[in-house]
């Protein structure tokens, strides 16, 4: 069975894997297409032109000539301010990916903040072979937040850079004034070349710098200057994001979809595998426990040789019973065994239940706050015939929860039969129709005896209890209660009267039919029908006059009912009915024909 399950699950897993592979292939193809179309590798640096910047000024920043820059952008070279918004720098962006990445970081930091910090980053590149000239690459966000500035600021000499770097500490709180002044100088340089507006105020808040190594062997040393500005961003919408082409967007979308799909598929697959493994492990564990249980029940020396010997719980059992789930499983199995197998083996299931102290586990459920646990505990104690727990079960008779009440009532009846019905005297809640049937069904397996205190129950103010008592009297033919039932007919409750009339059908005596006939005028329509039917079943010839009177009523339904009752009273009843119907004509003759055809 386990192998079948495993096979089934592995087939499902293979199916899922196949789907996964198809999806991966599809998305890979899509991704490749998007990637191959992407011109990212061929993109040049794009310079956002600031006010008062000229071609020469911008070209100097990137190490090209002003003429070349203008020509590269198909523009006419001049020495005045550049009017274009953007300029493409004839330098491949692939050579400047670090700067681009930094630019993105800066954008992230600026996003959504009203008062923000401008992050000013320097990256000093040093290599062993090419130490000079040292270039200082800066990425700045303008104070207005409108134009991200990506530019490269050349540093005059090695001495300038090396001169200020050691002065800057890693810890921002211990920044020396000298380092701050150096940062300010760098900013001033920016102001001079126009990347920062001259009117913009700058104050250094903190500086966080990883100290460069003394031997200068590291290839990249990152230095971050955090500068506070008083500028405010009007809204995030003012910030101009880096424009993306359609192909790039598609590529990003496909890549995201692939990642999400693969993640989901992987998650589902791992869940299936985990579930499969857990199911196999649980099945094995259950099989092992079942074998242990059967071995104990069928061949344990305590059960076979000497029933008076005490059952000692082995270490293996103790180990297994530590888990609550195992205890629950064992209880369920023992109950199954007890329900299906009788004789010595069946008794051994019961002994094992007590021997393993699982009755305490069931009893502990009675103290639970969850009603289903309480109901289960009651059921277990009852099925395992724990008579000494009856007082604990009895406490739940008037539980707030109807299911717990029902279980407690059933348990008491299951354990004590008719004697268990004494709970009815203290019952303050109604008994449902279903519960009434259940209790009567359970009681039917016990030898019938006189049910005590029924007269007390008949006088109860609990209507459902009175009806249940009438059903008990009827089902178990408690003939001694005839007079008490007759007294019930006098109540104002129509339903009680109805059940009393039907109850009298089972415990009638010579006077019952006459009494019922006398009650006829005082009862409701429904009860009148019941009286006519019962009189037809239990009455003798002395009740024929009563039935003929009912036959004479104007209501055709009563006519039909009385005619049926008369046919049930033997030949005399049938003869009188025929005679009466023939003498009266329609509708009586029709009624008679109808009843005759039915008979």
């Amino acid at each position: 069975m386990i192998s079948d399950q495993a096979c089934l699950i592995s087939q499902k897993s293979l199916g899922a894997l196949g789907t996964l592979l198809v999806l991966v292939a599809f998305f890979q193809a899509a991704g490749q297409t998007a990637h191959s179309n992407s011109p990212k590798g061929d993109r040049y640096i794009r310079h956002v032109v600031q006010p008062h910047q000229t071609y020469d000024l911008i070209a100097r920043v990137y190490g090209v000539t002003g003429r070349n820059l203008a020509a590269f952008n198909n523009l006419e070279y001049h020495k005045d301010e550049v009017l274009a918004k953007y300029l493409t720098i004839p330098v491949k962006r692939s050579n400047n990916t670090v700067a681009e990445k930094r630019s993105n970081d800066v954008e992230q930091k600026v996003k959504g903040k009203l008062e923000t910090s401008v992050v000013f980053k320097n990256r000093i590149r040093r290599t062993a072979n090419d130490y000079f000239p040292v270039s200082l690459e800066n990425e700045l966000i303008s104070p207005s937040g409108r134009r991200p500035i990506q530019t490269s600021l050349p540093v005059a000499s090695r001495r300038d850079t090396i001169g200020f770097t050691p002065l800057i500490s890693r810890n921002a709180s211990t920044v020396s004034p000298a380092s701050i002044s150096t940062v300010k100088q760098v900013f001033l340089q920016h102001k001079q070349i126009g990347t920062v507006p001259p009117s913009h105020p700058i104050t250094v808040r903190s500086v966080a710098v990883p100290s460069p190594t003394n031997n200068h062997t590291s290839s990249v040393i990152s230095t971050t200057y955090k500068v506070t500005t008083k500028a405010k961003l009007s809204s995030s919408g003012n910030r101009r994001s880096k424009p993306k082409t359609r192909v790039e967007k598609v590529y990003m979308l496909v890549r995201t979809q692939i990642i999400i799909t693969l993640s989901l598929v992987a998650l589902i697959f791992s869940c299936m595998v985990t579930r499969n493994r857990r199911a196999i492990r649980t099945a094995k564990s259950e099989q092992f426990l079942r074998s242990m249980l059967i071995d104990n029940v069928t061949s344990h020396p305590v059960f076979l040789d000497d029933p008076s010997r005490q059952f000692h719980v082995s270490e293996l059992w103790k180990k297994q019973l530590k888990k609550r789930t195992t205890r629950t499983f064992i209880i369920d199995e023992i109950i199954t065994g007890r329900k299906n197998i009788k004789g010595k083996i069946g008794e051994n299931f019961l002994k094992l239940y007590v021997g393993l102290k699982l009755d305490e586990e069931s009893f502990s459920k009675l103290k639970s706050k969850q009603w289903n646990q309480v109901a289960q505990g009651i059921q277990e104690l009852a099925l395992m015939e724990q008579h000494h727990r009856m007082s604990d079960i009895f406490r739940e008779i008037n539980s707030k929860n109807e299911y717990v009440r029902a279980e407690a009532q059933s348990a008491l009846v299951y354990l004590s039969g008719f004697r268990g019905l004494w709970f009815l005297k203290v019952l303050s809640h109604p008994i449902s129709e279903w519960q009434q049937m259940r209790l009567i069904n359970m009681l039917s397996s016990f030898p019938v005896s006189n049910i005590p205190d029924l007269h007390i129950l008949l006088s109860s103010s609990n209507q459902s209890l009175v009806i249940f008592t009438l059903k008990l009297i009827s089902a178990f033919q408690q003939r001694g209660m005839h007079n008490e039932v007759i007294r019930c007919l006098g109540t104002k409750n129509e339903l009680v009267n109805f059940h009393a009339i039907n109850c009298l059908k089972e415990i009638y005596n010579a006077s019952t039919a006459k009494t019922l006939a006398e009650r006829f005028p005082f009862e409701s329509r429904r009860n009148k029908f019941a009286i006519v039917k019962v009189v037809g079943e239990i009455g003798d010839e002395s009740q024929i006059d009563f039935l003929l009177r009912v036959l004479a009523l104007s209501d055709n339904a009563f006519k039909m009912c009385a005619a049926t009752a008369l046919t049930g009273m033997g030949n005399k009843g049938s003869y009188l009915l025929e005679k009466y119907c023939n003498s009266k004509g329609d509708p009586y003759s029709q009624i008679f024909r109808h009843i005759k055809s039915a008979v």
């Binding site: 249980l293 059967i294 061949s299 199954t336 329900k339 299906n340 004789g343 010595k344 083996i345 069946g346």
Partner: protein, 136 residues
């Protein structure tokens, strides 16, 4: 002496294991099936001498198994039905199909074993008398 092969068909694993353990100790060769389909398959491959089957099982009920065995195989095993259904109709239907015995749950394993032994003896006597008749 060849051991008698008993096919147990029961969907409740605990009852199945209990029956298996008990009848193995009694000296029978036991094969088990957890559902009706498996029971029929095992019957075809193992040709057991005795079938003890539950009435309510997945795929095929006990009565369906009996009907197929009675209708389609030459070798007719001893069939005992175990059932929680003690109604007259169920018992009648089972006996009409040709079961040898009907045991209602809860059942006693000892009683079941005794019933089985009696049926085996009856079958043996029946076969012996048939052989004598054929010889005569």
């Amino acid at each position: 002496m060849k051991r008698m092969v008993v096919l147990l068909a029961e969907d409740d694993p605990l009852i199945l294991l209990t029956l298996e353990t008990f009848f193995t100790k009694e000296g029978y060769e036991v094969i088990t099936a957890a559902n009706g389909r498996e029971a029929l398959r095992l019957f075809e491959t193992n040709a057991p001498d005795v079938i003890i089957t539950d009435m309510m099982m997945p795929f095929y009920s006990g009565l369906e198994i009996i009907a197929r065995i009675k209708g389609g195989f030459i070798k007719q095993p001893i069939i005992i039905v175990l059932s929680a259904l003690g109604q007259e109709n169920s018992v009648k239907e089972a006996f009409e199909l040709g079961v040898d015995d009907y045991v209602t749950k809860p059942f006693s394993l000892v009683e079941l074993s005794l019933r089985l032994k009696r049926l085996i003896n009856m079958h043996a006597t029946h076969h012996y008398s048939l052989k004598i008749k054929e010889g005569a």
